[in-house]
């Protein structure tokens, strides 16, 4: 052990020096390079100052790993392992073997290549496998780039470290992300501070390109989409300001267009910090450049010498990127004269036999009880401050269903609750009025009574449940209940294939998967008119559905899940539910479903500068397919987690004189019934050069867009085609980039030699590979359509960080944690360790915590250090074998590693999985290789490994090899046609060689 440790340390020390130097170089080169593009943006006065902090800290990110080895970690590492442990040595070996080529690359790829790779070389990279064309011919050279350059864990660690290192030794402050000065946002999942400079923080909105191509041909040359991913209710460090415009313009009695918030009279954009007030009473719209806008009389203000309004820094809408506007009644769903109800929330619980058998009603009852009564939550705080204290509270209803639909009457007038059973499934109707929805405080007795009843039902051996359930009718009826309240939310439990009554589903055998598109269409698309119509109704009535499926059988997610898909609801699924192990996880997700609604009756409108227009919305289905020709999607239900991806296309040319402005306006009703518009503004620069475009790409958004676009073809094209298209897309993008570099499109740039990846798209291959291996797309008949679809629906609207962590989970090696790591700092940021690459070969015989965006797994190798196991699980365990496989949480123990683990799990739950802090600890699932069946699930998360040879799920290295080959073949074959060359040479030439799938990109 000593020897090992010693050699490691010394070696580490040796490389650290180089590393620092190289990192410094890297920082200066890559980051500074990026920022040089900024002057193209119109109003960058503070530009210069922004460069300094990140670059000065750029060398620090690599410190912690260093400390990891120097600080001798926590002593759990290899105490029990023989010195000949197979993991260390190869690492060292490969390090040395890669050391020599490194310097040459530094000189070769000055702008983007990162030196210092030798420390973390790719374990699986087959040497000499990647064929890199060099100028003047083709030759085989050792694989250069895809080593640490492509390491996602390094990148994540590095980015995080950037924002957690004090700006200087004197200043304990962390560097902030300045939304106007800085452009490419830190990768999703990073903890960072932001400063809103009038354009929205990346928490709310991310663009695929931060240099928007001037023309379509310029964009087409990148083969990348222009897309925004918007998370309107992202958690933020500062509360979103609320501006009350309900009475503005009311007294003037003039043009109704002037009523309410000041808006551009042409494009109807809302007032925002980029609007130019040209005089006291006039302003120019930043979005459409319309000059003739008048300022409402009550809203006028004097302008200072710079042309800024005197009240600019008083009014949030004049200096902030994100704010809520309270709007007058004209904006209500029913127009003037209508009122908005508070949110109405229905719990819809399956009480058919599969549900009772699994003990679920009791679990649901307990979850509802916790959600409603356990914690004191401050709604006022959740929904932002309200000018007048509202008496309104969220109203709840509890409905059960089997072959019939059972309503609990929760009227506070009753001594106890009453169950009303609706039996008419052909012609469902709302059975009663008073007591259908109840305030949780007023009707607490009745609600408790109903919950007790559900528990009794579960535990009563004489209760004879129905064998089937009428889920579709139950949903329909629930939405009818919500109809008179303007919509709301349904949180529903489904425990088996809902085969009863109208909309009853039949089992679909999974033997057609992968054969042809028609067979998959049957499996993946809703095939029952009942569900299609129901989906349409739900959207039209602003009803959102969160689905909890706990079933050992298929439930026909194509139909069932569709209802969630179209309404932006979450699907949570347990196929092997063990109440002892999984009830906690269920509970957490259920409580979250109750607590997460932020509003409903949403309508999304994205406005953008002239030259662009919206091509497609992802993450919401309320487009032509659902409610006809309404282009602006209706969003039934808004949650903190909801994201939309919006794809843009050119309808003209962007004006390089101006920035490219985007304004997202989400009109919605908050949970307490106040009608608001959430305005999110984004200002981007316009690029004229292809290289600029490539250099200012956000791979997170690019990946999100590609992924969502791919998924939107599920059922329309076969999975095979989708996978091929995805691969082709990657090849195309990189081909273009390389062609650009090779062809010297940008003459001023010296990059005329081979280059694989643009700085901003380094990790696209690993994400793409992970996507190919995801439950949604992975080849193989072993994956049920339900699994694929649940994944698909969730991926369509989950936050970017969850999506990316779902693709490439975070895995933390516990036995080598440093004392400092996994502790919270003064900002509440967790000091994250460097994650472990997702490959079995990178794992040691220790303990790992992995988060895939849905769940947290704790991997305990049977040979793990028993001291670590004792510190984590308790003194009484002498062997890993003694651990309870049904364990659902780590015990709280007075050991550092226990605290660290808890911190880490809590962080994963709250930041990635989206389950806000649970007082009682967070759920985990135990995985012991060779012992627990969950090992298979865990191993599927190790996306850098080849899962199975037969299923074409290559390892990362193999994947890169084939990618490179394809790029080369592409370029070679282009020599004849010259199409790629042409597209690069002449961005004005709109030659299309894209597959049909990415026609829009």
């Amino acid at each position: 052990m000593q020897a090992n440790n010693g050699s490691f340390t010394s070696n580490g020390n040796g490389t650290t020096q180089d590393l620092r130097a190289m990192n410094g170089e890297m920082g200066n080169m890559s980051l500074a390079n990026k920022r040089k593009k900024k002057p193209a943006r119109a109003f960058h006065q503070q530009w210069e100052t922004a460069v300094a902090p990140p670059s000065s800290t750029a060398s620090t990110p690599f410190m912690p790993p260093n400390a990891l080895f120097n600080g001798n970690s926590n002593g759990y590492g290899f105490d029990s392992n023989p010195p000949s442990n197979g993991f260390i040595t190869p690492r060292m070996d490969s390090t040395s073997s890669f050391q020599s080529p490194a310097p040459s690359r530094v000189s070769s790829f000055q702008t983007t290549q990162l030196p210092g790779l030798p420390l973390f070389p790719p374990q699986h990279q087959p040497e000499n496998a990647i064929v890199v064309p060099v100028s003047g011919g083709i030759s085989l050279v050792p694989a250069p780039a895809p080593s640490s350059e492509l390491s996602l864990v390094d990148y994540r660690y590095h980015t995080q470290a950037t924002f957690m290192t004090p700006t200087s030794d004197n200043d304990p402050l962390y560097p902030s992300f300045y939304t106007f000065q800085n452009s490419i946002p830190p990768t999703a999942g990073t903890q960072y501070l932001t400063v809103d400079q009038g354009t929205a923080s990346p928490n709310y909105i991310r663009s695929s390109m931060y240099f928007v191509p001037e023309t379509e041909s310029l964009r087409a040359a990148t083969k990348l989409p222009i897309a925004l991913t918007i998370r309107p209710f992202a958690p933020s460090q500062d509360p979103v300001p609320v501006v009350d415009f309900r009475d503005l313009g009311n007294i003037s009695g003039s043009d109704p267009l002037d009523f309410g918030p000041p808006r551009c009279r042409r494009c109807r954009a809302y007032v925002n910090p980029s609007m130019t007030f040209t005089s006291v009473s006039n302003f120019t719209c930043n979005v459409c450049q319309f000059r003739g806008n008048t300022v409402p009389q009550e809203y006028t203000s004097y302008l200072d010498a710079q042309g800024n309004r005197a009240d600019k820094f008083v009014k949030p809408e004049l200096h902030q990127g994100v704010y809520d506007i309270l709007v007058p009644d004209e904006y209500n769903v029913g127009g003037t004269g209508s009122t908005n109800d508070e949110l109405h929330h229905i719990f819809l619980v399956d009480i058919s036999e599969p549900s009772i058998r699994q003990g679920l009603p009791a679990v649901v009852a307990d979850s509802i009880r916790t959600a409603l009564f356990a914690e004191k939550e401050d709604l006022q705080e959740q929904t932002g401050e309200d000018n007048e204290p509202s008496k309104k509270t969220i109203k709840y209803s509890i409905i059960c269903f089997d072959k019939h639909i059972h309503f609990y009457n929760l009227s506070p007038k009753l001594q106890q609750t009453q169950v009303n059973v609706c039996t008419d499934l052909d012609d469902p109707f709302v059975p009663f009025f008073d007591g259908l929805f109840a305030d949780k405080e007023e009707s607490r007795i009745q609600i408790e009574d109903a919950l007790t009843n559900m528990e009794q039902m579960t535990n009563d051996p004489t209760f004879l449940p129905d064998t089937e359930s009428c889920f579709a009718v139950a949903i329909k009826l629930a939405s009818m209940c919500l109809e008179s309240h303007g919509g709301g939310k349904i949180t529903t439990l489904l425990a088996g294939l809902p085969s009863w009554g109208p909309g009853g589903l039949k089992f679909k055998p999974n033997n057609t998967s992968g054969k042809n598109a028609d067979a998959e269409k049957y499996l993946f698309l809703p095939n029952l008119d009942y569900y299609k119509a129901l989906g349409k109704e739900l959207v039209a009535q602003s009803v959102g559905v969160d689905l909890f499926v706990v079933a050992k059988t298929q439930v026909d997610m194509a139909n069932v899940g569709y209802l969630c898909g179209v309404t932006g609801g979450n699907i949570n699924r347990w196929t092997n539910f063990e109440i002892e192990r999984d009830a906690r996880g269920f509970h957490e997700k259920f409580v979250t479903s109750v607590k997460n609604p932020r509003g409903y009756q949403g309508q999304l409108k994205v406005r953008c500068s002239n030259g662009l227009q919206v091509a497609q919305y992802y993450g919401t289905y309320s487009n032509k397919d659902i409610i006809g020709d309404v282009m602006d999607p209706k969003v039934s239900l808004l949650t903190e987690d909801q994201t939309f991806t919006v794809l843009f296309e050119y309808d003209g040319k962007l004006d390089t004189k101006y920035d490219c402005h985007f304004q997202v306006a989400l009109l919605y009703t908050d949970a307490l019934g106040a009608r608001k518009v959430r305005v999110i503004n984004l200002v981007l620069a316009v690029a004229e050069k292809l290289q600029d475009v490539f250099n200012m790409v956000d791979e997170d958004t690019v990946m999100t867009t590609i992924l969502r676009d791919s998924l939107s073809f599920m059922g329309k094209q076969s999975l095979k085609e989708i996978r091929e298209s995805l691969n082709n897309k990657l090849v195309e993008v990189y081909t273009q980039y390389r062609a650009m570099s090779e062809l010297g499109h940008n003459i001023t740039n010296t990059m005329n030699r081979t280059l694989l990846f643009p700085e901003g798209l380094k990790h696209l291959p690993i994400y793409a590979l992970a996507f190919l291996k995801s439950d949604a797309l992975r080849n193989g008949n072993g994956i049920t359509p339900d699994t694929r679809l649940a994944e698909m629906f969730n991926l369509m609207h989950m936050p970017v960080e969850r999506l990316l962590y779902n693709l490439y989970p975070a895995m933390v090696e516990l036995h080598s944690l440093d004392d400092e790591e996994c502790t919270f700092d003064d900002y509440g940021f967790l000091r994250l360790p460097r994650f472990t690459e997702l490959s079995l070969s990178k794992m040691e015989q220790g303990v790992y915590i992995l988060c895939d965006g849905y769940r947290v797994y704790v991997w305990v190798d049977p040979n793990a250090n028993i001291l670590l196991v004792k510190d984590l699980f308790g003194e009484n365990y002498d062997s890993v074998l003694q651990l309870d496989p049904m364990m659902n949480e780590l015990p709280v123990l007075p050991t550092l590693i226990s605290e660290q683990s808890h911190n880490l799990i809590k962080f994963f739950h709250s930041k990635i999985i989206g389950i806000p802090g649970q007082d009682t600890g967070s759920s985990i699932q135990l995985v012991r290789p060779g012992i627990d069946g969950s090992e298979i699930i865990f191993k599927l998360r190790l996306v850098e490994d080849n899962i199975s040879r037969s299923l074409a799920t290559p390892s990362y290295g193999d994947y890169l090899t084939s990618l490179h080959k394809a790029i080369r073949v592409n370029l070679d074959s282009d020599k004849a046609s010259g199409k790629i060359k042409q597209s690069i040479d002449n961005v004005g030439n709109n030659s299309e060689s894209l597959t049909q799938r990415f026609a829009l990109f």
């Binding site: 072959k403 019939h404 059972h406 309503f407 009227s411 007038k413 009753l414 001594q415 106890q416 609750t417 009453q418 169950v419 009303n420 059973v421 609706c422 039996t423 008419d424 012609d427 109707f429 059975p431 009663f432 009025f433 008073d434 007591g435 009574d449 009843n453 009794q456 009563d460 051996p461 004489t462 004879l464 129905d466």
Partner: protein
């Protein structure tokens, strides 16, 4: 042959030998039968001339102190098409045979009857037991069933009063009686009383007509049969569970009381200017279907408590907008747009009624609403099933509260005075045929040989279903004389009423009444046998039956014509000499009855709503002779300081300043204080020590009224008024207007002036005389 005719002690000749009218009431007390003609014309041809149909007003379960009760099954004629029951009129051969009076079939006596003689007669052969009740050995499967169907679209007061009455009524039910509970408003809510842990109910749409299959599927839910929780015999036993909605009151009284307590007004919002959505039609559909599926052919009452008109289809009485008026008689006559729902609704409720009849279930309607609730359309349900209709202004009234509870009156043994699941079979000897029945019954469509071609009322059958039958329920049964050949004098014909029913004690019983009539060719005998009271009631029933189908004016003309023809046949007069007109004593009062019948609310629908008419007619068609007669011609009793209480003419002349009048119209009991009495009362003389007699005078009519009130169902409306009082109009409306503003000199001596254009009895009689003697018809 040594045949003994035990029944022949009845010497009809002796009875008719006297000059005076026969004592019909005595006969009624014995058998519960009043006949319009106590002798029948011997031939069909003669029968055609006597105008008033030969009919009987039969009260099957008439309370009888000395009723013979046989604890065995009756002996039945073995002739398959006869099946008459051994009765005192049968001639019995002690050697083991008896002769059926109806079909003359010779039947063997059961072995146990061997050796009978005069001193040792079985009950049914005892001459006094022409009416006898058998308690059969067949057990009743289920105790009586009560299904409450309660409208919740009512204001709180009304609903609370109703809830209170219902709660009280639970304690009046036999402990083993099964109860079910349905509440309805916009929706139908069927309470699952078997659900112990939680108050559970099933909801049905109010605007949908569910089929029997649907309801059964929706409500049925397999349950573990009790005692098979573990499934010892290989898996759980599933039982049909519809019966869980109807459970013994002793088991569910607590739960049901709680349900009633928690029952609140229908909470669906009602738009301004609208009626609440009330789905009476759907609720009844669910109730009858549920009960029909769970307990077909078992005695059950569906008790509907409605607080307004049904405003949802099916069974829509009136649309939801208040501006849409409820139909009046004139709308119905004109068949205008206001009455547009009437036919459809009537048809719907008839369908419900038919279903209830099929299952032998009773439907009662209790309406507590100032406005109409659609009784007119719904009446068929109670009329056909023998249910009761009670029309009250509100459930808060004592009329409702007391009448409702009176329904649960018990006999001396503590059994409810209500029979269930009954059938009435009318058997006749071959001279007679059954032409029909008018009463709360339904035809069973049994076309036995004694069914007449001529239908009067419900015809074409000799058997009727009486889903509900109470001791006071009376049925008018009409007969045709089938005989065409002259018969020997003193020929007898026989009628046997066989009533099967489920007694609330849990036994099936058979009440058998056998009567015998002489067939005569002698007109005088016929005249003397005329029971004008029964005849008036029977005629009234026929009239009402016609009125249900025909135009009101036509019916009046028909009654007039009947009266004229009767007088022409039986009165003494010389042609065209009015003064010569004399009616024989048995007919003397008949024209007067007809006069009051014509004026009654049964035929004069003006000022009555269709609902009220339906209610009055419903009650009338169910009561016995005396009560019916009271409804036709109310009684008026005078109380004064000088005289004992005495009945006085129902005439305006009876009103005197120094009299207190007590009017009993069956539906109303009214005390009218003459002018002087009223003044004295106002002055408070009754409180002065010296005026005890005045005080007792004031008390007397009240005591009398209380006596009248005591056993009447429905409870009459009690009115205390005086001269000039607004309520006095109820009295004036009934009085014969001898003195009106046109002719106040006719009976100059006293009396009050009745402001009416109606003709007085005197004018009516004068016209009758004139028409009779002039020979017109």
């Amino acid at each position: 042959m040594d045949n003994l005719q035990y029944g022949s002690q009845f010497d009809g000749q002796e009875q008719m030998g006297g000059d005076g009218p026969l004592d019909f009431e005595e006969a009624e007390d014995m058998n519960g039968v009043r006949l319009s003609w106590n002798c029948f014309p011997s031939t069909k041809a003669e029968a055609a001339k006597i105008v008033v149909p030969t009919g009987a007003l039969y009260t099957p379960l008439k309370a009888k102190e000395d009723l013979a009760i046989a604890q065995y099954d009756p002996v039945i004629c073995q002739n398959a098409s006869c099946k008459a029951i051994l009765n005192p009129y049968c001639s019995v051969d002690p050697s083991g045979f008896w002769m059926c009076t109806m079909c003359k079939n010779r039947n063997g006596l059961p072995g146990v009857y061997k050796g009978i003689n005069y001193d040792n007669l079985p009950l049914e052969l005892n001459a006094a037991n022409s009416t006898i009740e058998y308690i059969t050995a067949r057990p009743v499967q289920n105790p009586p069933i009560f299904m409450f169907v309660v409208d919740t679209c009512q204001d709180e007061d009304n609903l609370n009063a109703l809830k209170e009455s219902l709660t009280i009524s639970l304690s009046f039910l036999p402990p083993n009686a099964l109860v079910g509970f349905i509440a309805y408003g916009t929706m139908v809510q069927v309470y699952d009383l078997g659900s112990e842990k939680i108050n559970k109910s099933y909801i049905f749409r109010g605007d949908k007509e569910y089929t029997e299959k649907q309801i059964s599927e929706m409500l049925n839910k397999p349950t573990l049969s009790p005692g098979h929780g573990g499934g010892i015999h290989g898996g759980p036993q599933f039982v049909n569970s519809l019966s869980r909605f109807l459970l013994p009151v002793e088991d569910v009284e607590f739960g049901l009381t709680a349900i009633l307590e928690n029952l609140s007004k229908d909470s669906w919002p009602v738009a301004h200017g609208n009626r609440p959505f009330r789905c009476t039609g759907s609720a009844l559909n669910v109730a009858t279907t549920l009960l029909g599926s769970a307990f077909p052919g078992t005695g059950a009452r569906i008790m509907l408590f409605t607080g307004g008109p049904c405003s949802l289809s099916p069974g829509l009485i009136v649309g939801q907008h208040l501006k849409e008026a409820l139909r009046s008689h004139s709308d119905i006559d004109k068949d205008n747009s206001i009455a547009k729902h009437m036919k459809k609704a009537t048809k719907y409720y008839e369908m419900i009624a038919d279903r209830a009849v099929k299952n032998s279930h009773i439907i009662d309607i209790f309406a507590g609403c100032y406005d109409q609730t659609g009784l007119y359309e719904m009446r068929g349900m109670s009329n056909k099933t023998g249910g009761t209709i009670l029309l009250t202004d509100a459930f808060t009234t004592s009329i409702f509260k007391q009448s409702f509870l009176r329904l649960f009156n018990k006999d001396s043994d503590g059994y409810l005075l209500m029979g269930f699941n009954g059938t009435l079979e009318v058997k006749t000897s071959r001279e007679l045929k059954v032409s029909g029945l008018i009463g709360h019954a339904s035809s069973l469509n049994i076309k036995s040989p004694n069914v007449s071609e001529n239908e009067l009322g419900l015809g074409g059958t000799s058997q009727y279903r009486l889903c509900g039958i109470s001791p006071q329920d009376s049925y008018a049964v009409f007969f045709d004389i089938a005989n065409t050949q002259p018969l020997p004098p003193n020929s007898q014909c026989f009628i046997q009423f066989v009533t099967h029913y489920q007694h609330s004690s849990g036994t099936f019983r058979i009440r058998v009444t056998t009567i015998s009539n002489y067939l005569t060719q002698d007109e005088q005998t016929l005249t003397n046998s005329f029971d004008q009271e029964a005849a008036a009631v029977l005629l009234a029933r026929v009239t009402l039956f016609k009125a249900e189908q025909d135009d009101g004016a036509d019916v009046l003309r028909w009654v007039d014509r009947m009266l004229i023809r009767l007088c022409q046949k039986f009165a003494d007069y010389r042609k065209d000499v009015g003064e010569s007109f004399r009616l024989p004593p048995p007919f003397s009062l008949f024209p007067q009855f007809v006069y009051y019948l014509r004026r009654s609310q049964f035929l004069q629908v003006f000022n009555n709503s269709p609902d009220e008419t339906a209610f009055y007619r419903h009650v009338f068609v169910n009561e016995d002779t005396n009560n019916s007669l009271l409804m036709i011609q109310p009684s008026l009793t005078s109380f004064s300081l000088d005289n004992e209480p005495e009945p006085v003419l129902l005439d305006s002349v009876s009103i005197r300043d120094d009299r207190i009048l007590l009017l009993d119209t069956f539906f109303h009991i009214l005390i009218y204080h003459g002018k002087t009495i009223a003044q004295w009362r106002k002055a408070g003389y009754q409180d002065l020590p010296d005026y005890e007699n005045f005080k007792s005078l004031l008390e007397l009519p009240k005591q009398e009224a209380i006596e009248l009130l005591s056993d009447r169902y429905p409870l009459p409306r009690f009115i205390d008024t005086e001269e000039g009082g607004s309520q006095a109009r109820f009295l004036y409306a009934k009085l014969n207007p001898s003195t009106t503003y046109n002719n106040n000199s006719t009976f100059g001596a006293g009396g009050a002036i009745v402001l009416t254009d109606d003709v007085s009895l005197q004018v009516f009689m004068a016209h009758l005389q004139k028409l009779v003697v002039s020979g017109s018809s």
